[in-house]
Amino acid sequence: MFPDWLAWVLLSDLFPWLLITLGAVFFLAGTAGLVRFPDLFSRLHALTKADNLGLGLICLGLAWHNKSPSVALKLLLIWLLVLLASAVSCHLIARYALHSDSKVWKQRHD
């Protein structure tokens, strides 16, 4: 019913490391987006993915590795706080940019 290889992956030390690497990849994508994207709103979009998923995967991986409920709860608390903070601040920044006539990038059709 439950495949052997899946149980092996979930119980081994490999799985938390996989989650953390995936989180680091999301952070890399967020950084690349922040540096490379053309306008403020698309940068905001890249940033929130890194905030939410990157930190979420890293916290999940660490909690999995630790196997202790108190540590897992604290990591969950950190992640929820960052979620709340990034949601509120991104909303504020987007509204501020909208009211201050920030430039919006448009693709050129030559």
Binding site: W17, L34, L55, C59, N66, L75, V82, I93, Y96
Partner: protein
């Protein structure tokens, strides 16, 4: 015994990301773009602290990460509040 060292590698990788993010502070055309880089750095430092708490076996660093996340939220809220009130004053 080999996994904690890999966490350290990821922490250093995130630190490198933070250095790349400094480029946005350097080239960002206005203040709000620079604030975005600060926003990313707050999250990056939180992740680095959480990873270091595991690797160095220092659970108190998790509290530092919690505080850092809280202060990072306050930075952008304070920025938007203060600058928009200044703008309103200057236009009226």
């Amino acid at each position: 015994m080999i996994t904690p060292d890999l966490y350290l590698v990821v922490a250093v990788f995130l630190l490198a990301n933070l250095l790349i993010g400094l480029a946005r502070i350097a080239i960002g055309p206005d203040r709000i773009n620079r604030l975005l880089a600060t926003q990313l750095m707050t999250t990056l430092v939180t992740a680095i602290l959480v990873l270091l708490a595991e690797t160095l076996n220092l659970p108190s660093l998790q509290d530092v990460a919690l505080l850092f996340a809280l202060l990072g939220a306050l930075v952008s809220v304070a920025f938007v509040r203060l600058t928009s009130s200044v703008r309103k004053d200057s236009t009226s």
